[in-house]
């Protein structure tokens, strides 16, 4: 009996194994069929280079910034379409003490992608790291204050308070940029954003996969993001990026050059998107620093507002917009782009290129046009060089147009494209140059971003970097207004300061604003749910809501 029972058991086990093998085989056979029925929703686009880091606290370039936008969890997020703050990891927050204190309340049950809980301790650790001088984190810059670091306290696992000694402008909006990483560093770190870095092949691509623990759901309860994965190709050549898009191999180009945009508009009109003026501006300025290499009479020209106005009025900005940017740019009137609707001073108008008006302004300052050459009071012919970064076609072409415009008023200009390193060296270290054309890519709509540029003591203050004291009363007034808006919690009062600052910038014109290039992008019609905006990360800001059909 025992033998028979054992035999029966063995037979049953044999059949059980056979059955499970058949089921396994069927499952394996069905997987490709299931895959055919519902193909993985992978979005594909390109970035221009390898991300240098996946640590949100050490990002210094746009490629890493793009990955961080897609992977990092933030406490609050600026809705790029409405410019309003929306809750993310923090379900609510309060600002108290006239903008000195902010308290965040985190959502319940938050987790990083590796399953570890995300608590207020993680936020405290992140902000402390960002503010630690030893870390050298660029993310900490916006959180620093002249009155020392803020006090940061986690009161419960879901609540934390940050307190500054003086009011901090736009305190809650600062946290839009602060990604919260997990405590344990890893080569491909976990994250609290909609995606995680799943693969990285240097020089080839980065693949992001859906974060299984992402907290957000749509109104129907479907977990977000909709996309299964994102393949981000590392492609420096914009022509190859464009060709891939036109062949349907990628779905988004987040930033298009004007000529590429025209081609997309011609070949795939439904994909071409022009959102009008971007937040960026292109400008020219004169070296006003007391450089040893510059003769006094030349410095006298450059420090004269009338001379700068004369030059500014001779430049045909409409030609620059029409020719260099193929009509995809707008003449600029202010350091704040017209696209930045709240902060732009709408009373300002860009000068219209007019040689006669220009000569009239210059004549009032003692300049005279004789035999086709403009000369100053002492008879020096007006000649100067303009440096710009070589390889940047729009800037080189702007230099050529300005050269031709100024020749009409008797000024000989030498346009010198230099490699970027040499250019920055001349502008910020040796001050061995006359004038320069460069641009500013604004990442934020908030004017706090341009403070380092406009404060006379700022390291990026172009016409005289890191001035010990403001050289002129109007520079002192700009400093005053910049600091005032930075410590004011009321948005309307900040706007008032910024309006006056823009008016002074127009009156004195230390920076000759040229154009605001348009924001141009391409989005394949198969991408649904996109709401591109001019504020970075433009098309990608609502990545969790994008779908592929």
């Amino acid at each position: 009996m025992t033998t028979t029972n054992r035999t029966n058991t063995q037979i049953a086990q044999l059949w059980s194994r056979r059955l499970s093998a058949v089921v396994r085989g069927l499952c394996l056979a069905l997987i490709p069929l299931l895959a055919l029925a519902a193909p993985p929703k992978e979005l594909r686009f390109s970035i221009a280079g390898d991300p240098k880091t996946f640590d949100p606290l050490h990002i210094e370039e746009s490629n890493s910034q793009t990955i961080s936008y897609l992977t990092s969890g933030v406490l609050v997020k600026v809705n790029r379409a409405t410019d309003q703050l929306q809750p993310e990891l923090a379900e609510s927050w309060e600002i108290k003490d006239s903008g000195r204190t902010i308290t965040f309340h985190l959502r319940a049950g938050l987790k990083f992608s590796d399953g570890t809980p995300l608590t207020s301790a993680d936020v405290v650790r992140t902000l402390s790291r960002a503010l630690d001088p030893k870390e050298g984190s660029p993310a900490g810059d916006t959180f620093r204050s002249a009155d020392g670091p803020p006090e940061i306290h986690a009161t419960t696992p879901r609540d934390l308070t940050i307190h500054y000694k003086l009011p901090k402008a736009g305190l809650d909006r600062l946290f839009d940029q602060l990604g919260i990483p997990p405590a344990s560093p890893a080569k491909l770190p976990a994250s609290a954003g909609p995606f995680i870095v799943a693969e990285y092949h240097a020089g080839d691509y980065v693949r992001l996969a859906r974060n299984p623990n992402y907290w957000k759901h749509d109104t129907a309860g479907h977990p977000l993001p909709y996309l299964d994965s994102i393949r981000i190709d590392i492609q420096q050549n914009h022509d190859i990026e464009l060709a891939r898009f036109l062949r349907g191999e990628s779905q988004i180009i987040n930033r298009l050059e004007p000529e590429s945009f025209d081609r997309v508009a011609k070949e795939k009109p439904a994909a071409a998107r022009n959102l009008g003026a971007s937040l960026d501006n292109e400008f020219l300025w004169f070296n006003e620093a007391p450089a040893k290499t510059m003769p006094d009479w030349k410095r006298k020209w450059f420090t004269s507002p009338a001379f700068r106005h004369g030059i500014s009025n001779a430049i045909h900005r409409d030609d620059i917009a029409r020719i260099v940017y193929r009509g995809h740019a707008h003449p600029a009137a202010s350091p704040v782009s017209t696209a930045n609707k709240f902060w732009f001073n709408a009373a300002l108008k860009a000068p219209v290129g007019d040689a006669t008006a220009s000569l009239k302004i210059l004549a009032a300052e003692g300049f005279k046009l004789r035999d086709g050459v403009l000369r100053d009071r002492d008879g020096h012919p007006v000649e100067f060089s303009i440096v710009t970064n070589s390889g940047n076609r729009p800037r080189e072409q702007m230099g050529q147009l300005i050269q031709s415009d100024l020749l009409k008023i008797g000024i000989r200009v030498n346009v010198v494209p230099l490699d970027f390193g040499s250019l920055l060296d001349r502008v910020y270290k040796t001050q061995n140059y006359d004038a320069a054309i460069l641009g500013f890519s604004n990442v934020e709509v908030d004017p706090m971003e341009i403070m380092n540029f406009w404060l006379s003591s700022g390291s990026q203050h172009p016409w005289w970097p890191s001035e010990k004291t403001p050289a002129t009363p109007w520079e002192a007034r700009i400093d005053e207004l910049e600091l005032k808006q930075a410590s004011e919690s009321s948005r309307d009062l900040r706007k008032k300061s910024m309006d006056e600052m823009q008016r002074i910038a127009e009156e004195q014109e230390p920076i000759v604003q040229l154009v605001n290039p348009d924001y141009l992008c391409a989005i394949a019609p198969s991408v649904k749910g996109s709401q591109p905006t001019v504020a970075p990360p433009q098309v990608l800001w609502n990545i969790e809501w994008l779908r592929l059909e």
């Binding site: 022509d239 440096v387 390889g391 147009l401």
Partner: protein, 261 residues
């Protein structure tokens, strides 16, 4: 084969004449901007169309021919003269010096030179310096060939006989050695001219060649980096065609010379 050589010679002379007579032939100045017609297609007003800022491509090509066809031979001549002078003056260490010179990363020296030039340096001076530096930098190639030829000559019977007969070194160099070296120098010149035209084109592609608004084949070829421009106006390829034609003619002359030798 002689006919091919003749055709090549005529073509080279025609291209050189086209450059030399640029102000008379070109309908517009090379830097005149027609802002009403940027990127204009070829037509009666602009035979090859205009570039992105409305400059006539045909006029710019003719002026570019003048610069490239004048300065590349000048730089080649400078290299040959310098190489001969160094070979004549240096008795020891020539081989080591040429090896060092050939191994130098000249492209970086060009970048440094351009960065260190006074910003007030005008385009004409900048062009002269670019080709001048090319001429100075290129002496080592012909010098190596001259060293080998001189080495062969030193072993020859006629030189020993000339020395034994008490003929002065200067007379030996002028009357006996130079006719031998002349053919080598000519061959080197023909090799260096296309090499310098190509070098200028390569430097132009990197933005280190002839500065705007002066045109050269090199900086006109920068448009080839943008397929859209080529697609919309195939005349953008004209400098490339002209460059290839000159290279072909020079190659033909060189190969014919080798056959005849």
């Amino acid at each position: 084969m002689k006919r091919m050589r003749l055709i090549a010679m005529i073509l080279l002379v025609l291209i050189a004449a086209l450059g030399a007579l640029a102000p008379a032939i070109a309908p517009y100045s090379y830097d005149a901007q027609f802002r009403d017609a940027p990127d204009a297609p070829p037509g009666p007003r602009f035979r090859m169309g205009t570039d992105e800022i409305g400059r006539d491509r045909f006029s710019r090509l003719i002026y570019a021919t003048r610069i490239s066809m004048l300065l590349a031979p000048a730089a080649a001549l400078a290299s040959i003269v310098l190489a001969l002078a160094i070979c004549a003056l240096l008795k020891y260490g020539l081989s080591a010096l040429t090896t060092i010179c050939l191994s130098l990363p000249w492209i970086f020296l060009f970048i440094i030179m351009r960065a260190e030039l006074p910003l007030s340096t005008g385009p004409v001076v900048s062009v002269a310096l670019t080709f001048g530096l090319m001429g100075v930098a290129g002496w080592a190639w012909p010098a190596r060939v001259f060293t080998a030829s001189i080495g062969d000559m030193k072993q020859s019977g006629w030189l020993m006989q000339a020395r034994a007969a008490g003929i002065s070194p200067l007379r030996i160099a002028r009357v006996y050695a130079w006719p031998h070296l002349r053919s080598v120098a000519l061959a080197q010149f023909r090799v260096l001219v296309p090499a310098y035209i190509l070098s200028e084109a390569s430097l132009g592609l990197l933005g280190l060649g002839v500065p705007d608004p002066l045109p050269s084949w090199g900086n006109l070829l920068r448009d080839l980096q943008h397929p859209d421009i080529v697609r919309s106006n195939p005349w953008v390829l004209a400098p490339l065609g002209l460059l290839m034609l000159v290279m072909l003619c020079l190659e033909l002359l060189q190969s014919q010379r080798e056959v005849s030798l």
